[in-house]
Symmetry: C2
Subunit: 232 residues, 2 copies
């Protein structure tokens, strides 16, 4: 596995480090423990006592909430440079969600005590955290509204666009979702079933909006998809 991390890319993506000099960051990083995760491994489970915070360096995490009946709602995907569980560990609470590695991943971990020390040394961290949490609150509130008011096909469009913006990569074909994303995953993210997602993607492929295969989706006509997502 390639061990090189593009830290400057990490810096720019992470809301954590707003207002910090770049030369202070290696210091902060040095207190963390770097660790590799195989695909599918669970980093932490909903309800467990929170002991660590994570920043993704490579790969991706799927953050979800599980329902008793076995179904899951995907809350968000965590990309390189982004944090998860920063606050629950600070507050000494339980994790409110479950995090799982999508594909081979790497993360930087801090335990509770280290986080508290860092917060004392760099008080700005609390303010930055506040910004991150508020952004996520906003995101989920918007999706909550959409889930209440919009039809499935429109919601699938919004979901795909959201994931595309956060994790898309330009290719000659169009914008590729850069990790394994099954119909079931997209359904869990949207709040529908894999069958409905499958039918929808077939329709879109006919229209030339997307190209999809096993656990892989490429948006070939983002403009059309955006227009559909907005007007229904």
């Amino acid at each position: 596995m390639n061990n090189q991390i593009d830290f400057s890319d990490i810096f720019s993506r992470s809301g954590w480090f707003v207002g910090f000099e770049e030369d202070k960051l290696p210091d902060i990083f040095s207190f963390g423990h770097r660790r590799v995760y195989e695909s599918g491994v669970t980093l932490f489970r909903e309800g467990d006592h929170a002991t660590k915070s994570y920043m993704v360096l490579k790969g991706r995490l799927k953050v979800s909430k599980l329902h008793e009946d076995g179904r899951e709602a995907i809350v968000r995907y965590i990309n390189p440079g982004e944090m998860t569980a920063a606050v629950s560990v600070l507050k000494g609470k339980d994790y409110p969600v479950t995090a799982q590695a999508i594909g081979p991943s790497e993360a930087l971990e801090w335990d509770r005590e280290t986080m508290l020390n860092l917060m004392n040394t760099y008080p700005r961290i609390a303010i930055n955290l506040l910004g991150i949490v508020v952004e996520r609150l906003d995101d989920i509130q918007t999706r909550y509204l959409e889930l209440q008011t919009e039809r499935v096909e429109q919601r699938i469009a919004r979901s795909l666009l959201r994931i595309m913006r956060q994790s898309g990569r330009k290719t000659s074909e169009g914008i590729l979702i850069d990790f394994r994303l099954s119909r079931q995953d997209l359904a869990d993210y949207t709040g529908t079933t894999l069958y409905t997602v499958s039918r929808t993607l077939s329709r879109w492929e006919q229209k030339g909006w997307t190209v999809s295969s096993r656990e892989r989706i490429v948006v070939t006509n983002p403009h059309a998809l955006v227009s559909f997502a907005e007007t229904g």
Copy 2:
């Protein structure tokens, strides 16, 4: 209008003041501007530039997100002692939601500059805010999961219980929702229609779980309702 506010009650409800001595609070309060709102007045609108933070002293605020098609999703109700818009004003952002007075209300308002000064004087405010925001993130994520996975009747039960816990008052009849709550409101909070809410409440009244009339709901058998909400 009665102008007496039970400040000790406010203190105990507000996550803002964790770790403060009670005698410092009047100081914080004195920087705010106290103001009365008539029923139905909009305090701030989604998309407006955020200029003020609010703490409810009397009455209640309805915080919602509006969809283009006119429908609204109620995000939460703000009770006496609770804050809203604390962070968006700090960050200089737009309000992500709309807030409206439910019944005659009173709020303490701080403008952006005052909030920043307060934060400097009492750094603990940032940490307390973090706790509040995380709690709300948790709440909406849980409701998001429920909206995805549960049936309408179960969701209405959960909604009513949630509102009951936050704004219920014991009476001889049972636990009364202590403000005007129409079928439409409960529908907007749950993500359904007023018709479905009405039918559901009729059914529950037959079972002896609730008693409802115009814009008024009393939970007469909370235990049965909880059990139903959990098992479906």
